[in-house]
């Protein structure tokens, strides 16, 4: 029984939220909440079990839904990377669910949240488990549609417009992606990632397909200069949604990029592509941070922080291309950044949301004395800021460490400078929020309503827990590093160099 259950774990990861979603929809405003809580809570052990399975197996696990083989059946593949992303999704998802129970106190107005939220979780899980590029397209669309719906959930004008922008950008990205898929199929006649990796060869059509897919995914990942939709969408969405969008959704499209450029092909497949993506990443780091320094609203600041942090993900590509024996470091850095940023950024948005929902505004210049009024939230924000800055002990530090190692090893020290400069800029925008928190309390001048009620504890502590988890990654991250390496370039099998 237990073994049978274990064997179906990959399916369960998708099925649990997928089944719960319509139930939550039907259960209505009142009972949707416990359904979502149970489903997202269940996802955590499922994700852990998968991670354990993958670790124990030491290589990729394949799972055919209904026993149908490729190319006709839908296959699920779990390797270290997928398991890691699933784990992060489950953990962040659960924390956000707990937080949302407090956040959406107005049950009636947000009654659709739970179903959409579970759909989003399900499609994220499916995305991370998909074995072929077309299924990835479908999942990508599912993720986008549920995410857009969640952005517009409040029905307020700004949120709706932001959702529309997001929607248009997302569809545009999907179309680019689909065109790429078409060309890919035309060139090689296969869609399964593993098959594709086997047959991939120098071919203009294939290279063009990679280029188009990259454009689509860059758009969905909001890499500079394609970040135009992200700040309004992430800032105007309800805060739990913002957290998930920044933490997980953008990672979904990055995940596909990663698969294509490091698992199926490698950055040298299209010469200059790695460097180009890296340069855009560097620009994102600088530009996003500078804009974060300029924002007047806390959630906009955090959103621009996401724009900047996304840049770090893309430093992976040039470094993977040139890092020689330290290619593992570069790859692990990118993936580990996806993980630690997911935890820290969700904590940051949840903290920002807590401020917004308690004090009714999130104007940064009105946050004087915040550390006194909301110490736990301030601490959650500050601690996640440490990861953003890449200071030890935090996941961000491990990322920085690995990137710098790879950069120095490959003699491309300028990437190290970018990484370090980004950390300093991050310190700048984090300080903008944290510093006024320490300012002397002047009741006449503070914009923080003294009479504002206490936040539900679970909101504050959900944020704090995520921030602490991001910190813990910096010390106890080895299991995660081990896990993500299973069946991936980091496991020592480096396909693109033929080793």
């Amino acid at each position: 029984m237990a073994e049978a259950l274990l064997a179906h774990m990959p399916a369960l990861a998708v099925v649990v939220p997928l089944v719960a979603a319509p139930i939550a929809f039907l259960a209505g405003a009142r009972w949707g909440r416990p359904v979502a809580l149970v489903a997202s809570a269940l996802s955590v052990p499922v994700a852990f079990a998968l991670a354990w399975l993958v670790s124990a197996e030491g290589e990729k696990l394949r799972y055919q839904i209904g026993g149908w083989e490729a190319p006709l059946g839908i296959g699920l593949v779990v390797d270290g990377l997928s398991a890691t992303m699933l784990l992060v999704t489950a953990v962040v998802g659960f924390a956000v669910t707990v937080y949302s129970l407090g956040y959406f106190a107005d049950k009636e107005r947000y009654r659709f949240f739970w179903a959409l939220w579970l759909f989003l979780l399900a499609s994220m899980a499916a995305l991370f488990l998909s074995a072929d590029v077309f299924n990835l397209y479908v999942c990508l669309e599912l993720v986008s549609v549920s995410a857009v719906a969640l952005v517009g959930l409040s029905g307020q004008r700004d949120a709706l417009v932001a959702a529309m922008r997001y929607m248009l950008a997302a569809i545009l990205g999907s179309i680019f992606y689909l065109l790429g898929v078409a060309l890919l199929y035309g060139a090689f006649g296969v869609l399964d990632l593993a098959h594709l990796a086997a047959v991939l060869g120098p071919d203009v059509t294939g290279q063009a397909a990679f280029a188009l897919i990259t454009v689509g995914l860059v758009l969905k990942t909001a890499l500079f200069p394609a970040h135009f939709w992200l700040p309004p969408a992430h800032a105007n969405a309800p805060s739990p949604v913002s957290a998930v969008l920044s933490a997980l959704v953008v990672k979904g499209s990055f995940y596909i990029l990663l698969r294509l450029w490091t698992d199926v092909g490698d950055p040298s497949y299209v010469p200059g592509m790695g460097t180009l993506l890296g340069v855009l990443g560097a620009m994102a780091i600088v530009w996003g941070s500078v804009q974060a320094l300029l924002q007047e609203r806390l959630k906009m600041l955090v959103a621009y922080s996401t724009v900047a942090q996304i840049g770090y993900l893309f430093l992976l590509f040039p470094l993977v291309e040139i890092a020689g024996s330290h290619v593992v470091d570069a790859w692990s850095a990118g993936v580990f950044h996806a993980v630690s940023h997911a935890l820290a950024k969700s904590a940051m948005f949840l903290a920002a949301g807590a401020v917004l929902s308690r004090f009714g505004h999130d104007r940064i210049d009105g946050l004087g004395g915040l550390s006194r009024r909301a110490p736990v939230t301030t601490m959650a924000f500050g601690l996640s800021g440490i990861t953003m800055m890449g200071l030890p002990p935090s996941g961000g530090f491990v990322v920085k460490w690995l990137y710098i190692t790879a950069a120095i090893e490959s003699g491309a020290w300028w990437w190290a400078i970018v990484v370090l400069a980004g950390g300093l800029l991050a310190a700048g925008y984090v300080a903008r929020v944290v510093v006024p928190g320490f300012a002397k309390a002047r009741d006449d001048a503070s914009d923080l309503d003294v009479d504002a009620g206490r936040l539900p504890r679970r909101m504050e502590f959900a944020a704090l827990a995520l921030a602490l988890a991001a910190l813990a990654l910096g010390v106890l991250g080895q299991p995660v590093l081990d896990l993500m390496a299973v069946g991936s370039p980091a496991s020592g099998v480096i396909p693109w160099t033929g080793q």
């Binding site: 190319p71 077309f134 397209y137 479908v138 669309e141 986008s144 549609v145 857009v148 719906a149 517009g152 029905g155 307020q156 004008r157 700004d158 709706l160 417009v161 932001a162 959702a163 529309m164 922008r165 929607m167 248009l168 569809i171 545009l172 999907s174 179309i175 689909l178 065109l179 898929v181 078409a182 060309l183 199929y185 035309g186 006649g189 869609l191 700040p231 309004p232 800032a235 320094l293 300029l294 924002q295 007047e296 609203r297 906009m300 940064i364 210049d365 700048g428 925008y429 300080a431 903008r432 510093v435 006024p436």
Partner: protein, 110 residues
């Protein structure tokens, strides 16, 4: 010029035309339509590709994918239209106005 090439080139043309429309037309309905045109282009490419396989019968897989794609496009178009309608009813116009973040920036503390 083979049949496949015609399909592919036409698809590409539709794609570019759609993209142009998406960029330049401010009205939301125009943008949604532009996206649909782009999707159509992609489907054409797909259909063309189905013919490239060296066999008398076209490859069924691209067709299956096109069908799936059409379903996805239809539903997302529907959702986009609903959103556009809602925006129109909230704001009285069906355009993406400048997002409110672009207010006159001024030097902020920190």
């Amino acid at each position: 010029m083979s049949q496949t090439d015609i399909y592919t080139l036409a698809g590409a043309a539709l794609f570019v035309i759609g993209l142009y429309g998406l960029i330049t037309r401010p009205h939301l309905i125009h943008k949604i339509l532009a996206l649909n045109i782009m999707s159509g282009g992609v489907f054409l490419v797909f259909v063309g590709i189905a013919r490239r396989v060296m066999s008398p019968d076209p490859d069924p897989l691209p067709h299956a994918m096109v069908l799936t794609g059409i379903v996805v496009t239809v539903s997302s178009t529907a959702y986009a239209l609903a959103l556009a309608k809602r925006i129109y009813s909230e704001t009285g116009m069906a355009a993406l106005d400048a997002p409110d973040v672009i207010e006159e920036p001024e030097a902020s503390s920190g």
